[in-house]
Symmetry: C2
Subunit: 394 residues, 2 copies
């Protein structure tokens, strides 16, 4: 029989991930194209101890159905960390647990977007957000992110002209660009939005991964009643546990709770209880220091080697944290062509195209520096240079 | 600020669950209104052993990102069980893992329904399905389920007249009615659908919970290329692990994979690996024998006590398995009124109204017999009788 899919299915951009998966499982290829944290830095022993203890002491509770909003002690921990680290007035009632912060993207779009609605997104913007939002058939309105944050004029015009239900952004070590908004830019964005009918969706997947381990003030602090913020344990503890959260005004949370319940009743309770046990028995900040130190040295090495390619016309961002940076190619090197040529030379980079809703990205690539090491960065950058040099300057 | 929700939010029926939660946490009330499996029958020790072993031997893998379709060995186990138990030609490639089978409801609706599209559903039908589908703004078309299964004429007319993208049903021990379709009814439904443009969505949450432990042939067996079937470990091992699956034709799965990835990337990998370890080291059928034996004796006792109320005008279904039965009230007892009066007497039953998309259900209640015991059933039924007798016969 022929199957008639819903219209939203044709709004979904073709995914690059199948291709990426093929590439990343080929041992001959050094891949900077993926987006995994370094598995060797996951505290397996700490998590195992937490899991065995939780199942020993509270197994029957951990394995039964639970509430949609999530395990209260974990939400209390998150709220306390927000209060102490970011200085924001967070209560556990303002936090709900999700299956990794990707689920927030789906559910927030579900409660706020009708087909054709405008939604503001950075250019470049996060691929996973573009994919999730696309299924709600919005009209993407992008605003450029210059090295210090969003371009004021573009964003202001976008808000006034399109009045989108929300604007989505990653102010801390953005995926894909690695850019971090300055404090002034955060206040500027809050000021532009204040009093408008537009919410700010602040995706904070990387806020705990600054190389200096110092927090940056979230936009939420300057615009608390109009900002919803998502967070995740995927980058700081374990992605396989699929546990993230949303922190949002009560009105948003009420609607969010309805769609979360319809989507999957609640998130894995065992994972929530294990994470809570883990967080209350280990020194998270010390573990994070190890992770960010590794990521920082990888990042600096990659930047240094990319600088050597500067005379060949390549520039790049210089991240303060996170897992990604972006390289901008000389105009005679199309990113899709560099991707293919790179594979010939045994190195994979991710073309910028799928990170754009405005048809741009043909001259940029995303590079991951978390799931690699010094040797692979050295060799991979050598291969990338060879691939780059096959393109004639005109 | 005022928040403008998407149109789909106003299509969502008000949920009864908050109320239910309040009721079930009141120790003075004996509740048959919930839908939990008996937590005392969860094999906590077996799951703990499996979890500790998986984290010991494969911790780094279990805690890293994974693929959207799910852990292959678990999908192989499910496929093998389908082949040996149900005699259907299942391969692991035809199975994808989800966060409990509730997630299938959301994602199947997402790939198949446009606003206004007809969708066929039993009357009474599963509340969780009604809630999940509602957010895609379909036009519900219900067909009555008589004690042996769907009414042939109604269903045939529905398919011909409305040509829905899919029909949803629970042929095994339905939630809420406890009705199991006969083999003939299954063949009849397959015959009606064969060659039409309508898929059958076979929700099989309870197929492993028949009191005689004998499998019933799924509709999928008679209509393999046109049926998608969902399954779940929630009722047979643990709901807190939020692990279910979809078994579907390849074309459906391709679209399903896209929306699953956009929804939450993938399901909790640790839970999938723990379940696989558990399933390959314990005797599932022996554990199931203990569970169904308990549920059967609860069910028989409840039926016997409800029979005593027969002279007061009450009738009920007689389940062959599962966790629920339905009682039909005399015409002078509205189910919402009985619900309220029951609370006064310290017993909770679930009114039939939210299980109907056609405005019916005012004269039926759902009774859960899994999460209770002999003493509570005895006392609860005594209280229910008292509540029932407060209604005058006219």
């Amino acid at each position: 029989m022929e199957i008639h899919y819903s219209r939203r299915m044709s709004a979904c951009p073709p995914s690059f991930l199948g291709e990426l998966f093929r590439v990343s499982s080929d041992p001959r290829i050094i891949s900077f194209a993926g987006g995994l944290p370094d598995a060797s830095l996951i505290d397996v022993e700490g998590i195992r101890n937490a899991a065995c203890e939780v199942l020993q002491e509270h197994g029957r509770e951990a394995l039964q159905y639970s509430t949609t909003d999530g395990y209260l002690p974990l939400r209390e921990w998150i709220a306390a960390r927000y209060r102490s680290r970011l200085g924001i007035d967070a209560s556990p009632e303002a936090i709900q647990i999700v299956n990794g912060s990707q689920q927030c993207l789906d559910l927030v779009a579900k409660i706020l977007l009708n087909p054709g609605d405008p939604v503001g997104i950075e250019s470049p913007g996060y691929l996973g957000a573009i994919e999730a939002f696309s299924l709600y058939e919005p009209s993407f309105q992008s605003f450029p992110v210059i090295p210090s944050g969003p371009d004021r004029d573009s964003l202001g015009l976008l808000i006034r002209r399109f009045r989108p239900p929300f604007i989505y952004g990653i102010p801390n070590s953005q995926n894909p660009s690695g850019i971090t908004w300055t404090g002034d830019q955060r206040r500027m964005v809050a000021g532009l939005l204040d009093g408008s009918c537009t919410l700010f969706y602040e995706d904070d997947a990387f806020g705990e991964l600054f190389f200096d381990q110092k927090p940056r003030p979230p936009v939420s602090r300057f615009l608390p009643h109009q900002t919803l913020m998502s967070g995740s344990f995927s980058k700081i503890i374990s992605p396989g546990l699929r546990t993230g959260w949303i922190f949002a005004p009560q009105k948003v949370l009420e609607a969010f709770n309805i769609v979360k319940q319809a989507a999957d009743l609640h998130s894995n309770l065992l994972a929530q209880m294990v994470l809570h046990r883990y967080l209350t028995t280990v020194d998270l900040d010390r573990n994070l220091a190890v992770i960010v130190s590794r990521y920082e040295s990888n990042c600096r090495l990659m930047c240094d080697l990319l600088d050597d390619l500067g005379r060949d016309g390549l520039t790049h961002t210089t991240p303060e944290g996170g897992m990604f940076m972006m390289a901008f190619l000389p105009e005679w090197v199309p990113s899709m062509e560099l991707y293919k040529k790179g594979l010939d030379y045994g190195v994979a980079v991710l073309p910028g195209v799928p990170f754009h809703t405005d048809g741009r990205g043909s001259c940029s690539v995303r590079l991951n520096f978390s799931n690699t090491d010094e040797g692979r960065i050295q060799e991979g950058m050598t291969r990338l240079k060879k691939a780059l040099l096959t393109f004639s300057t005109r």
